[in-house]
């Protein structure tokens, strides 16, 4: 009997030991009241402690740091809070950026954070590519040179030939990693390779060879996992299992006094329901934005200490057209649909908590459009109120007629629609069903079809298989990014160096199939793709002028009908910690680790 019990214990112990191999063996205590519990991202216990990896165990704001944290601004994409950078200055033409680091910033191993760390991080960023670190000669807004001025000052020059206004934000958004850890992973001639790879004057052969080496290094670096976390943030990773990551306070953090929790537990999730359950049970101090139906929100708020904070979100849900499909190529048909769809009703059904009906279609969320071109100018645009009469008038202009309650096209065929939504997007599915029922009632039989998953949806929409479907637009605060969703690759405009070229519908990712140019009353003929591209290099005054034109173009031509603007809803619990950001705070898009750095989140007394 004893032997059996021992064998059972050994087996159970073996099972536990196997399960425990993902973690470290530092001591911890499970009874602390100052443990902050949050939900941030899906956790992969096998992922490296490396912020450049997608499934990283470096968590932004906790043990992963940048030079600055982007503010949630309606209009200024370059508004940042200082993080490892104490300050920065940029020349008016965006060509030179000087960054001063915090002199008191230290890594968790006690070493100071220096300009050499930032330069090494820039090299790692080049190996990953994209943004200011694109490894391509003459890439718009790319970093041309990095110069260490002193231990705490570093200069970034923009590549000659472009004066991109995204330069500052792309550099400040770079992850900063310790040179002592990442430096030895890179070859000694890394900067020579980067120079050759990005130099327009280098021979094509040398360029290609250098680009190949940098990209190969990128793969190696993104896989790289330091055995021990070396963090410049307020926390250091202690251990991680597939269910949660545990971080402990970094005593070397430059503002350690501001950080209230001694530990942070970040829980894993793989679906919204899990976040809802944790919130309803009162187990979370903070949760990321989660789509939440009204009944679930009620249950969450019924839990003692739970509170909701909200602010604007620079993203909108729109119904996008495939204009290669007749009669959707006819602007009168698109306008008719805009009149026939009741955005308030659709929003109430689709996204009653996390959305507000869009005022009209401008390509920007309503508040951003008002901020850029003024409320009066937005009011002058066609508001597309829910008006069956106006909708019918537009359909008649398109040559259609109504027989037996059904709209018939000029070619004699009934006008029917298929609206596509991806499985799993409950707000789009509900909103789509509401639109379907409204249009069917108006005489346009509309069927909602569901794609198996989001990957299938994205693939098939890009192949032009759908007539119309939901599409995220108005991605601010960068006006360029916002309009690139309507007048970028999906509508035929692709970037070549500092310029764009338009491809015919069905080619090079053009599934929206809109016209390359159109004449807008009072504005003349407009090429929206070229205007969008100009936004990347425009100053504020120029941006206002361009945004006014693009808003008018979008409103007149309707490549998509803007249905609702998203609202950033987050839930926090004030039972253990208080002093969370208020509604509409410009830190709402940041994570709680960054809130702590900015002085938010204090222990409840």
């Amino acid at each position: 009997m004893k032997r059996r019990a021992f064998a059972g214990l050994t087996a159970a112990g073996g099972f536990a030991a196997v399960m425990g191999t993902a973690g470290c063996t530092d001591s911890s205590d499970s009874s602390s009241a100052d443990v902050f519990t949050a939900i941030e991202t899906e956790i992969d216990a096998n992922a490296p402690i490396n912020p450049y990896n997608q499934k990283t165990n470096s968590f932004q704001g906790y043990n992963a740091m940048k030079l600055g944290w982007a503010k949630n601004s309606l209009t200024d994409a370059n508004a940042f809070y200082p993080a490892l950078a104490a300050s920065w200055s940029e020349t008016p033409d965006h060509l030179k950026l000087t960054v001063k680091l915090r002199p008191d910033a230290k890594w968790s191993d006690g070493k100071p954070v220096t300009a050499d760390d930032v330069k090494a991080s820039a090299a790692v960023s080049f190996s990953q590519g994209g943004g200011a670190f694109a490894v391509a000669p003459g890439a718009a807004g790319g970093v041309g040179a990095v110069k260490v001025i002193d231990a705490h000052t570093i200069e970034f020059d923009q590549s000659p030939g472009s004066s991109n206004n995204s330069f500052l934000r792309n550099v400040l958004n770079m992850w900063v990693v310790p040179n002592s850890v990442y430096g030895p992973q890179m070859p000694a001639n890394i900067w020579d390779l980067i120079k050759t790879a990005t130099d327009p004057k280098a021979s094509k052969k040398d360029q290609a060879a250098a680009q190949g080496k940098v990209q190969a290094l990128g793969k190696k670096l993104v896989e790289f996992g330091p055995k021990k976390d070396v963090s410049a943030g307020p926390f250091v990773l202690q251990r991680v299992n597939p269910g949660e990551a545990v971080l402990v306070k970094n005593t070397h953090f430059f503002d350690a006094d501001k950080i209230a929790p001694s530990k942070v537990v970040l829980k894993n999730y793989s679906g919204n329901e899990q976040i809802w359950n944790y919130l309803i049970a009162g187990e979370l101090d903070a949760a990321i934005y989660t789509a939440t139906p009204a009944n679930v929100r009620k249950k969450i708020l019924a839990k003692q200490g739970n509170k909701m904070i909200s602010g604007f979100s620079p993203v909108a849900a729109a119904l996008a057209f495939n204009q290669s499909v007749k009669p959707l190529d006819n602007v009168h048909v698109r306008r008719a649909l805009a009149y026939l769809i009741d955005r308030k009703l659709t929003t109430k059904i689709g996204e009653s908590i996390g959305g507000a009906p869009s005022q009209t279609t401008t390509g920007l969320i309503s508040d951003a459009a008002n901020a850029w071109i003024g409320q009066a100018a937005v009011d002058k645009l066609n508001q597309y109120p829910h008006d069956a009469g106006k909708g019918e008038a537009e359909l008649k202009k398109a040559g259609m007629s109504k027989k037996g309650g059904q709209w018939i096209q000029a070619n004699g065929k009934p006008f029917t629609l298929q609206l596509q939504v991806p499985n799993g997007f409950s707000d789009w599915i509900a909103g789509g069903k509401s639109i379907s029922s409204q249009l069917t009632d108006a005489g346009i039989k509309t069927e909602v079809k569901t794609s198996a998953d989001y990957a299938t949806y994205l693939s098939e929409i890009a192949e032009g298989k759908y007539q119309l479907g939901f599409w995220l637009i108005a991605l601010g605060p960068s006006t360029h990014d916002a309009y690139a969703r309507l007048y970028g690759p999906s509508n035929g405009w692709n970037q070549f160096g500092a310029n764009v070229q338009h491809s015919a519908p069905g080619k090079n990712g053009n599934w929206m199939g809109g016209a390359e140019k159109a004449t807008i009353p009072g504005l003349g003929t407009i090429n929206p793709g070229e205007l969008t591209n100009k936004l990347a290099q425009a100053n504020e005054a120029q941006q206002k002028e361009i945004v006014a034109k693009l808003a008018a173009y979008s409103n007149d031509q309707l490549p998509a009908i803007q249905i609702w603007d998203y609202t950033n809803i987050q839930f926090v619990n004030e039972s253990r910690f208080t002093n969370y950001p208020k509604n509409d705070s410009d830190v709402l898009r940041l994570h709680p680790g960054m809130w702590m750095q900015l002085g938010y989140i204090q222990k409840k007394k």
Binding site: G20, T25, N46, P242, T456, D481
Partner: protein, 333 residues
């Protein structure tokens, strides 16, 4: 012994061929699925509120981990690596070894589903025998009714009910695999944490599965009870306990096959249960990898599941011949 070895070798050869066929099939299947891992990753980041510039920068390097080249060359490369027990690198986790990912998930699933399967088997068999013996009375009817009802409740409904009442409302249990604040290793609190986190998902599995065993066992016992040799045993005055052993041994035979196959399928994970309890096993990994169009992870997961089912089949076949002399000697009627 020689016959057994010949039989085993035949099974193994057929198993390897079967694994190759399934591997080839899944290789083609996952590549036929519509969807691009890079585009999916990018749009998911946008949906999470990440700025377009940041999202672009984050997914840039992912492209390097997506298998490129013709299908033939990809297939050759895949098989060559497979022969060296290398399942490749994850696309969504950007370079993390698929073997590490798959084994990391499998260990949680095996612990959970093994406990759930054995629990449901034991409960099902015991209650099935009782239901058969008492089939004329209320006990037998009630047990049969319970078995039918529970067998009809889908796993995800059972899981949601248990999560809602015992985890969210009463807070008697926690979701996830283990409390991360406890030092991992061979120590009491860690062990207790693993067990307490596994109790509810295992119970969900057992509750939604034992009805099937119960009904099968009941039917099997009733069938055996009607056999001539049982009647003959009774007439010869053999003790009821010995008769019970005769009945149990014969009635259990069909259930062994079901159990062995269940153990093979358990590697696939109880997808809905793992999702409901936020349990990081194979089912959760498979769903995640399909959503991310992570070809390498999908292929690795399918391979492990296939291998487990084939091994379980072989084991079931060998076991059946070991416990049933009629099969061993080819004289089953």
């Amino acid at each position: 012994m020689l016959a057994f070895l010949r039989r085993l070798a035949g099974h193994l050869v057929r198993g390897v061929v079967m694994i190759w066929v399934v591997t080839t099939f899944t290789f083609v299947l996952v590549r036929l699925m519509p969807g691009d891992p890079v585009q999916t990753q990018y749009e998911k980041l946008l949906a999470q509120g990440v700025s377009a510039e940041q999202a672009r920068a984050q997914v840039q390097v992912t492209y390097g981990f997506v298998p490129h080249g013709s299908w033939i060359s990809q297939y050759g490369d895949y098989l060559w690596k497979l022969l060296h027990f290398d399942l490749g690198k994850s696309v969504s986790a950007q370079g993390v070894s698929v073997t590490t990912e798959v084994l990391g998930a499998a260990k949680w699933t095996i612990g959970l589903v093994l406990a759930g399967t054995l629990l449901s088997f034991v409960i099902g068999v015991v209650l099935g025998v009782i239901a058969a013996m008492k089939r004329e009375g209320h006990v037998g009817s009630i047990l049969s009714l319970i078995g039918s009802l529970l067998h009809g409740i889908p796993q995800y409904v059972m899981a949601l009910v248990l999560v809602t009442f015992l985890t969210v409302k009463l807070k008697l249990f926690s979701t996830g695999p283990v409390n991360g604040l406890i030092d991992p290793g061979f120590n009491g609190p860690y062990l207790a944490s693993i067990i307490s986190h596994a109790v509810l998902p295992a119970a969900a599995f057992a509750l939604s599965s034992f009805g099937g065993y119960l009904l099968t066992m009941k039917s099997s016992v009733v069938s055996v009870l009607g056999d001539d040799f049982i009647l003959a045993s009774e007439l010869r005055g053999i003790k009821p306990s010995i008769i019970f052993r005769y009945v149990a041994r014969n009635a259990l035979l069909p259930l062994f096959t079901v159990l062995a196959l269940s153990l093979g399928f358990m590697i696939g994970g109880a997808v809905f249960i793992e999702h409901a309890f936020n349990y990081p096993g194979m089912g959760a990994m498979l769903i995640d990898s399909i959503g991310n169009r992570d070809y390498s992870e999908m292929s690795g997961a399918f391979l492990l599941i296939t291998g487990a089912v084939i091994l379980a089949n072989i084991a079931a076949d060998l076991l059946y011949s070991a416990i049933d002399p009629r099969v061993r000697h080819g004289g089953a009627t």
